[in-house]
């Protein structure tokens, strides 16, 4: 069976390239929202925050 993984990589990266100015895209479904999410984050000034500061290690205790 041929892995469709590379096919999805192509979909993803092609979408990104086509979403750049000068390309006409008519996204549907989730991709339409992905464009909104990316644009919203770009508008927020977050430079003073460290990217991974909120991540904490698991605190699950060992098995009893």
């Amino acid at each position: 069976v041929t892995s469709p993984g590379p096919h999805l990589v192509e979909i993803g990266t092609t979408w990104w390239l086509r979403s750049q100015p000068g390309h006409d895209t008519a996204e549907t479904g989730g991709f339409k929202y992905l464009r909104l999410w990316l644009a919203e984050l770009e508008r927020i000034d977050l430079d003073r925050f460290e990217p991974f500061d909120a991540l904490r290690p698991p605190i699950d205790p060992p098995a009893a």
Binding site: V1, T2, S3, P4, G5, L8, V9, I11, G12, T13, W15, W16, G29, G30, F31, K32, Y33, L34, L36, W37, L38, E40, L41, E42, I44, L46, D47, F49, E50, P51, F52, D53, A54, L55, R56, P57, P58, I59, D60, P61, P62, A63, A64
Partner: protein
């Protein structure tokens, strides 16, 4: 015999010698079978395993051994946790016969505590898509509506009364949303409090296992077992409870949800120290969605290689979306996560808990993805998957209306959150009783 009974009621029946664990398990299995044609809450019913476990519990009782508060209690687990010899499908047509190996850590813990596993519950495919073969779980309060997701099967199995307890997972509201839609209690613990060992690949930094039941005390009993403790949650006494009401969190709510939430917060104001807290939600859903898509894509695209064509279009789309996110945008999402984490921490420095609505409207009639409400809406569920804070949803008002309250606790203090939620539940239950 078991229908609608709580964990403590079943434990009392068992300890009082009024029935055996086998009788309780048999009754629960019958209730599940009866509800199943209406609800589709289960993917696999584990009758043989349940009866074997129940016989072991009866033997333990005969030998004078007490296994704890969940001894003989029927429960179900979302079909994303491994169970020895039983398929773990993730709700995916691509994984119909997937048998990943020994029991997941939480399944082992429940087993050692004497809980009796009656089945593995339905879900959105691997937390996101929709299996065409298995189909959605219907809402027990109105089967024309959905139960929400992705832990919809766990929520429906508890809400219909067949079993008192189930475990789901919550990577973006997936325990709390169906709990709200099905009018039960659901906990998303602090990130990492409950072991995810033996879970199928998923978005790892936002997802956690969480118990679902019809009361806070039953959720607390399960939480203590799931975290490997033998004792119940520590009592936090009756000290002052300072509650922060998150401003504008009910904006966009349906009339019924808004009215129920306003009545509940008025009741809280009469008994506890309540003040309003401003939190900046801008960008939070976007940051969560980008994080979730990237992690799910990374977790699944190689693992599912060769089988992706058998998965739903929704799942394939989110995998492709994760691949389309530029690295700087992913980092920007993580910066927003840091800001939100510190904002919530600051709000909880002078308050024990914060409250918001659970969901803002009624359960969905269809399983359509990507409505504007979901993709851009004012939700306080997924932001807590970003920050990792514990949160529990309590039902309000008419069952099945979606009316609910989310109570958010301090990072790592799930016991304190559950103690506060218990007091809130007691107050709201007392207020809803008819006056004689």
């Amino acid at each position: 015999m078991t229908s609608g009974r709580s964990v403590s009621e079943l434990a009392a029946l068992l300890r009082g010698g009024e029935c055996s664990a086998v009788e309780i398990a048999t009754s629960a299995l019958e209730a599940v079978e009866e509800a199943e044609p209406r609800l589709r809450a289960f993917i696999t019913i584990t009758a043989r395993r349940a009866l074997a476990q129940a016989r072991a519990v009866d033997l333990a009782i005969a030998q004078g051994r007490d296994l704890g508060p969940l001894m003989g209690v029927p429960w179900a687990v979302k079909d994303v946790f491994a169970t020895e010899g039983i398929p773990t499908t993730g709700g995916s047509d691509a994984l119909r016969d997937h048998r990943p190996g020994p029991d997941a850590e939480i399944v082992s813990r429940m087993d050692r505590a004497g809980a009796v596993l009656v089945g593995k519950t339905n879900l959105h495919e691997l937390g996101w898509g929709l299996s065409r073969e298995i189909g959605r779980t219907n809402n027990p309060h109105d089967v024309s509506l959905g139960s929400g997701g992705s832990s919809g099967g766990s929520a429906a199995a508890v809400a219909c009364g067949a079993i008192p307890l189930a475990v789901g997972t919550d990577g973006g509201g997936s325990v709390r949303m169906p709990a709200a839609y099905c009018a039960i209690v659901g906990l998303k613990p602090t990130h990492g409090r409950i072991s995810m060992a033996g879970h199928l690949p998923a978005a790892w930094s936002v997802g956690d296992a969480g118990p679902m039941a019809r009361s806070v005390v039953d959720v607390a009993s399960a939480f203590s077992v799931l975290t490997g403790q033998r004792a119940g949650p520590a009592s936090h006494g009756r000290s002052e409870l300072r509650i922060g009401l998150v401003a504008e969190a009910a904006e966009g709510a349906s009339a019924e949800v808004g009215e129920a939430y306003a009545a509940a917060t008025s009741a809280l104001a009469s008994s506890f120290a309540l003040d309003e807290v401003q939190l900046d939600l801008s960008g939070a859903f976007s940051a969560w969605a980008i994080t979730y898509a990237c992690e799910l894509s990374d977790a699944l695209r190689h693992w599912l290689a060769g089988r992706i064509g058998e998965t739903s279009p929704e799942l394939q789309e989110i995998i492709a979306m994760g691949l389309a996110v530029p690295a700087p945008s992913y980092l920007q999402a993580q910066r927003l996560r840091t800001r939100l984490f510190h904002d919530v921490e600051a709000a909880l420095r002078t308050r024990e808990v914060l409250v918001t609505p659970g969901v803002l409207g009624p359960p969905p009639a269809t399983e359509d993805y990507w409505t504007d409400d979901e993709a851009t809406g004012n939700s306080w569920l997924s932001p807590l998957n970003l920050t990792g804070h514990p949160a529990v949803v309590l039902p309000l008002g008419r069952p099945g209306s979606g009316a609910s309250m989310q109570v958010i606790g301090r990072y790592g203090d799930d016991e304190g959150l559950l103690a506060a939620a218990l007091r809130i539940e007691e107050l709201l239950t007392a207020r809803s009783q008819p006056r004689s």
